[in-house]
Amino acid sequence: MTDQFTEDDVVAAVTRLTRPQLIRFIEVDFVRPLRAGDGYVFRSVDIARLELLCDLSCDLDLDETAMGIVISLVDQLHAARQDLANLVRVIDTLPDDLRARIGSDWTGS
């Protein structure tokens, strides 16, 4: 994906997001757009993340501290899921008897 968005694009796309809020989210490192000259370049992942941040702040009324905790846990969750998916992929390539042992160990312990 080579999609790139400017600050204006983002404020227009994420309707609930105001410009000062966006700046604040960048300041506190909730979103990390790339720097380009004077401005920022946002990717699709940043927009999706900003939607999530708006859900947290608008719908769930979380304050900045709580949002920081939630977003950090979400990041860690995704890291753990990724590790697990990779582990499963590796296990899938193992011989059958090894896989069976892993399976029984897994459920047995």
Partner: protein, 322 residues
């Protein structure tokens, strides 16, 4: 497609606005796709409750729905992409980077998992520090990582937020404190190389090079600049505008000012943490002649010279060894 927004939120038609809000929040928690990334049905549920909430949270649309004027189809939320759709992408910079990256030895991961298991099974006493070899693995703080960063003059004196791109493509957010000096090293705790065996990560040490500014010069906490003034401003005095690091400021030129004379603007220099007061801005005057020779001025000065001759060089070498 939802038929009854009340049903979608698990409410009856008599629900108060507060109850609607509460019910929605509760459902967001259990249905938001980004908070429940392994739940394949979450997106559909979240869309349904979102549409229902959009309709019911506004008393006007709620009243119109209750009166049968509108149905629930008009408020369907537009398609959107959720964060979880990107979270697994290999270039996601937000994911805490560990696991099977290009530069990570998979053996480390297994070792890590085994170590964690051993730690969990252990007594829990005496963790951390070097030398915890028995059954607990080697624990050590990660090495520091060194980086160089080029910073614009203004960003250094006023403070700024920037980021550096690391060799592995990751970004590191860096706060340039107000008043950062050329050659200063910033320490970002825990942003260096990862620790061993669950030890803390090292620090990132960033050496800052401040790019020179075409107008301002830094001298400690003072800012120096050379301000061009006209001949008449020098003779008659007057109010001019000088740039400062915080924007233009009015400056009074005393009558009879000379080139090289320095005026001091208190507190217009560099400030920042650890300083009681800000530095000053020192404005050195520089008289600039009009670009075109002026006959009237020349004639006047030719006359003036006859009666007002003076020699500013008379004492120049006085006291100096020849």
């Amino acid at each position: 497609m939802l038929n009854d927004p009340y049903e979608a939120l698990g409410l009856t038609r008599t629900a108060t606005a507060d109850e609607i809000k509460k019910a929605y929040r509760k459902l967001v928690r259990s249905s938001h796709p980004d908070l429940n990334p392994d739940d394949a049905q979450a997106e559909a549920r979240f869309k349904a409750i979102g549409s229902a909430y959009d309709l019911l949270k506004d008393p006007e649309t709620r009243a119109r729905f209750d009166a049968g004027e509108i149905d629930a189809s008009g408020v369907e939320r537009p398609q959107r992409q959720y964060y979880r759709d990107f979270a697994d992408a290999s270039d996601n910079t937000y994911r805490e980077r560990r696991g099977f990256g290009e530069n990570v030895n998979p053996e480390d991961i297994f070792a890590d998992i085994l170590r964690n298991r051993a730690r969990g099974a252990g007594t829990g006493a005496g963790t951390g520090g070097f030398g915890g070899f028995e059954g607990r693995g080697f624990v050590a703080r990660g090495p520091d990582a060194r980086y160089a960063l080029d910073v614009a003059f203004m960003d250094a004196v006023r403070g700024a937020q920037t980021r550096i791109t690391l060799p592995d493509g990751q970004n590191l957010s860096v706060t340039i404190p107000q008043g950062t000096q050329d050659g200063q090293t910033l320490r970002l705790r825990g942003k260096g190389h990862p620790g061993y065996g669950g030890g803390p990560a090292g620090d990132a040490l960033i050496t800052v090079t401040v790019r020179p500014h075409p107008v301002f010069r830094r001298d400690g906490d003072d800012i120096a600049l050379i301000l061009p003034i006209t001949l008449d401003e020098a003779v008659l005095g007057g109010k001019v505008t000088t740039p400062t690091i915080d924007g233009p400021v009015g400056l009074t030129i005393p009558p009879g000012s000379s080139s090289g004379q320095v005026l001091r603007l208190r507190g217009r220099g560099v400030g920042g943490a650890g300083r009681k007061t800000k530095g000053d801005q020192r404005v050195e005057l520089k008289i600039v002649m009009p670009s075109k020779p002026d006959d009237g001025l020349r004639d006047y000065l030719a006359q003036w010279r006859k009666t007002h001759g003076y020699d500013p060089r008379a004492d120049l070498m006085k006291g100096a060894e020849t």
